[in-house]
Amino acid sequence: MTPLTGYLLVAALLFSIGLAGALTRRNAILVLIGIELMLNAANLNLIAFWRYGPHPEALTGMMFAIFSIAVAAAEAAVGLGLVIQIHRHAKTTDLDQMNRMKG
């Protein structure tokens, strides 16, 4: 097994853990945490391909990972703001109880 395969398998496992959390947890904040884990697993893939791929001096994978980190930070801020506003409105963060869109 080459090192790149190991990193890709760890990233796949982490992505699946994040997906399972995002699909099964009731709390909206934990769904966001699952999405963060999935984004991080993708970043690990990008960095691993940058390290073991040809032309690392072009910095493509590294730049992609850095921009992905910035976008994930923006996503977390907006998502948590939305969760706080929904909690203020519906008095719950339980996704199973949020079953109507009417205000």
Binding site: L8, L14, S16, T24, R25, I29, N43, F67, I84
Partner: protein, 166 residues
């Protein structure tokens, strides 16, 4: 495959699993911080120093703290009586297991085609900075605009609504 890689990946996966399985949400965020730290160490292990330290600064320093604030503001640390998993958890678990099976199969069956350069990349922060303001200046500007929009948008979304005039 070195011993360091096995230790770091075990730490990261254990942190991720604990973050998704624990009952108390504050404990979940602590486990998530462990997973982020493990990922940052994996980045450092991959000779990506800049990305590793950016990971520590952005995720452990900002995102984890933000999630803790959101949990405390929504009183999410109380465990709900109905359990922590949704009613359709079997379907979610099956979907993610299927995704992992497909990803693992794809990785293991393309092993011979994957690139495998052993030379250590000779990249320092100066080169990263120069390509950020050189070749990647347009994405950098777009990310700057995105972060500004997200900052203003998050403040507006989370702002207390004014009482309706009667």
């Amino acid at each position: 495959m070195s011993l360091v890689f096995y230790i770091l990946s075990a730490l990261t996966v254990a942190g991720g699993l604990a973050a998704m399985l624990l009952k108390n949400m504050v404990h979940c965020v602590l486990a998530l911080t462990v997973a982020f730290a493990g990922l940052a160490l994996l980045f450092l292990n991959l000779d990506a120093q800049f990305a590793g330290f950016a990971q520590i600064l952005v995720y452990i320093g900002a995102v984890a703290i933000l999630v803790v604030f959101a949990i405390l503001l929504t009183r999410g640390s109380e465990t709900p009586q109905e359990g922590i998993f949704s009613r359709t958890w079997q379907a979610g678990l099956a979907a993610s297991a299927a995704v992992f099976a497909v990803l693992g199969w794809a990785v293991l069956h393309s092993m011979s085609q994957l690139p495998h350069e052993t030379a250590m990349p000779d990249v320092n922060v100066r080169q990263i900075g120069q390509s950020l303001v050189g070749r990647y200046v347009l994405p950098l500007e777009i990310v700057a605009v995105l972060l500004t929009v997200a900052l203003i948008g998050a403040v507006i979304i989370a702002m207390q609504e004014k009482e309706e005039p009667k």
